[in-house]
């Protein structure tokens, strides 16, 4: 099949060349030749340029979402992961896997080359990827957690998809036990107002419908932005100052405590007056931004911050 196809390609191109070799071409002849070429292309296509999916027996997963990659490794199927994106950096074992691109820019050729049985994609920015992969006949599962409960459901779902349901159940059960401990003490921080900044220029924060927002609330405190036009949204500085947050958590690199203090008009915010600013040096942002079992650690850390 493959040799045959190469043959057809070569003969097509050489035919095109022969058609144009004579350079004393008059207008009418030229038009005829163009029609020939059109048909040549049509024939090459008719030859069978159709998407096909390779059916292999061993499971092979491509994971574009760092969250899902982490969960699959936790469930013990890391050997079946054949490709990841550059953002999939935890646990370390993922860094040695073949890269198929970045979270927002994925090479379809590399995906097809690895002939995966399932591609795990996220819902953020990746709906088009999922739609394109489905067109090519590649099974694509979208896994996206907006809340802690979503995450528990998704761990079970991934467990079923990769044939590790029992392990998934164990993981979820132990996480629920840990969660119980956290919610038992959550009452203590009931009135703390927390401001999460996920980007500084423009200022972006999260609503309660985002995963981080959900963690902040479950750990006991109150995220100052209950609802926003989007889960991760731009917000004006005035709104932040008006809502008088008592704790500020910055989840992106490149911003120090003194930078925040120097923002004009922010000096009266209680969090800044009392020095309750926490940067990525105080809390690893992956623990609260990524919907993975590490979120339990993130919530413990959040409670330490509330207590501070």
């Amino acid at each position: 099949m493959s040799v045959l196809y190469h043959g057809v390609l070569v003969s097509d191109f050489s035919l095109i060349f022969l058609l144009f070799k004579n350079n004393n071409i008059k207008g009418k002849d030229m038009q005829k030749r163009i029609i020939y070429i059109t048909f040549l292309f049509a024939i090459s296509i008719a030859f069978g340029c159709m998407p096909k999916s390779n059916k292999s027996t061993t499971p092979a997963y491509i994971v574009t979402s760092p969250e899902v990659a982490e969960i699959i490794v936790l469930l013990g199927a890391e050997d079946n992961i054949v490709g990841v994106t550059t953002e999939c950096d935890y646990p370390n074992i993922l860094q040695s896997k073949t890269k198929v691109g970045t979270f927002s820019e994925i090479s379809y050729e590399k995906v097809v080359e690895l002939s995966p049985t399932i591609v795990f994609a996220s819902n953020l920015e990746q709906q088009k990827l999922a739609s394109d992969l489905k067109k090519m006949g590649i099974r694509t599962e979208i896994i996206y957690s907006q809340s802690l409960n979503d995450m528990f459901d998704n761990i079970s779902k991934i467990g079923e998809l990769i044939g590790k349901s029992e392990r998934a159940k164990l993981v979820v059960d132990s996480l629920q036990t840990e969660l119980k401990k956290i919610t038992d003490t959550a009452e203590l921080y009931k009135n703390k107002k927390v401001y999460i900044e996920i980007y500084g220029d423009p200022i972006m924060t999260v609503s309660d419908n985002s995963f981080v927002g959900n963690l902040v609330e479950i750990a006991g405190a109150n995220n100052i932005f209950d609802s926003l036009p989007r889960d991760y949204s731009m917000v004006s500085a005035e709104k932040v100052i008006e809502s008088v947050p008592e704790i500020m958590i910055l989840t992106y690199p490149g911003m120090s405590k003194s930078d925040i203090k120097n923002r004009k008009g922010w000096s009266n915010i209680p969090a800044i007056k009392n020095g309750k600013i926490f940067t990525i040096e105080d809390i690893n942002p992956d623990l609260i931004l990524r919907a993975t079992p590490r979120a339990i650690l993130g919530m413990k850390k959040l409670q330490e911050i509330y207590n501070d």
């Binding site: 340029c49 159709m50 998407p51 920015e125």
Partner: protein
């Protein structure tokens, strides 16, 4: 160098480039069949249409700055595609894009006919105004849908990596053949275009109905532009510069055909580079300018 050497050299280069394009770095035939060949065909069609239509527009509007996007069709088509993208209907993107192009064409057509007169200045102004209006609408959509920014950028900066499903592929083949047919119709106007390029007065005195000619070129070219933008987004540079290049090198009656083929060649070359030069694929519109501008300056300085 004479035409006698240039043209055969061009075709040898073209065949070599196509072979390289479909086979470079391809690990298995599944990729060749399902990704590279469709992409080659789309790149060929886009470059072929853009440079051919660019040539026709420059003559028809008697304006060296004219390009396929000048009459607003691209903005209308991009608006349609972006609308489909942000509302999550990825499968309908090309259809929305083409419908956007059609509606824009009808709008520009009607605007250009206000007052019963139809001339190239009115056409140009109507096209530019409609284009600006749709650009503003696009900016509005971008502002409210920043989470879809990478998909929107791929429409605005050009992306030949459209993934086809089986049904879409069949439709595309039909579209491809129709487009080539329309291009052949444009080529058949080459003689009249050549006369038109010497000025309206000469053309009228030689018995050419210039209004009718302009209308025909406008409709055919708009349809063709709509098709490329619907599938590949807005790819700049090709439609503006390739016709000038070809005119400088050849200056013959078949310039429009050479222009179209030159556009196809340049776009395939640039897409090849865009695919392989960086770790991630670059938007092809960036490469077209990077490669094309120095070459254009070189040819211009040679021509004096």
């Amino acid at each position: 160098m004479t035409k006698k050497i240039l043209i055969p050299l061009f075709f040898i280069g073209f065949v070599g480039l196509i072979y390289l394009y479909v086979s470079f770095g391809v690990a298995n035939y599944n990729i060749l069949l399902s990704i590279r060949l469709p992409r080659l065909l789309l790149a060929f069609l886009s470059g072929f249409i853009l440079a051919g239509v660019g040539y026709a527009f420059q003559v028809m509007l008697n304006n060296p700055l004219a390009e396929p996007y000048i009459l607003g069709i691209s903005s209308g088509a991009a608006f349609g595609s972006i609308l489909a993208t942000v509302s999550g209907m990825f499968l309908l993107t090309p259809i929305f894009g083409f419908v956007g192009a059609l509606l824009t064409m009808i709008l520009v057509w009607n605007l250009a006919h206000i007052g019963g007169m139809f001339d190239k200045t009115k056409l140009l102004l109507s096209g530019i105004i409609v284009g600006m209006f749709f650009s503003a609408l696009i900016s509005l959509i971008i502002f409210f849908n920043q989470q879809d920014i990478s998909n929107i950028l791929s429409i605005l900066m050009g992306n030949l990596g459209h993934i086809f499903s089986i049904l879409e592929w069949k439709i595309f083949i039909a579209v491809f053949i129709v487009s080539i047919g329309l291009m052949i119709y444009l080529f058949s106007l080459a003689k009249q275009l050549q006369i038109l390029s010497t000025g309206d007065l000469v053309a009228v005195s030689l018995g050419i109905d210039i209004k009718k000619l302009r209308r025909r070129i406008f409709i055919v070219s708009s349809l063709l532009t709509g098709i490329t933008v619907a599938y590949a987004g807005i790819i700049g540079f090709i439609g503006l510069v390739v016709p000038h290049l070809i005119r400088m090198i050849f200056s013959s009656r078949q310039d429009i055909l050479y222009s179209a083929l030159g556009g196809a060649f340049l776009l395939i070359l640039c897409d090849f580079i865009a695919m392989h030069i960086a770790v991630v694929e670059l938007p092809v519109g960036i490469i077209t300018s990077f490669i094309g501008c120095p070459f254009f300056i070189y040819v211009m300085s040679k021509n004096k």
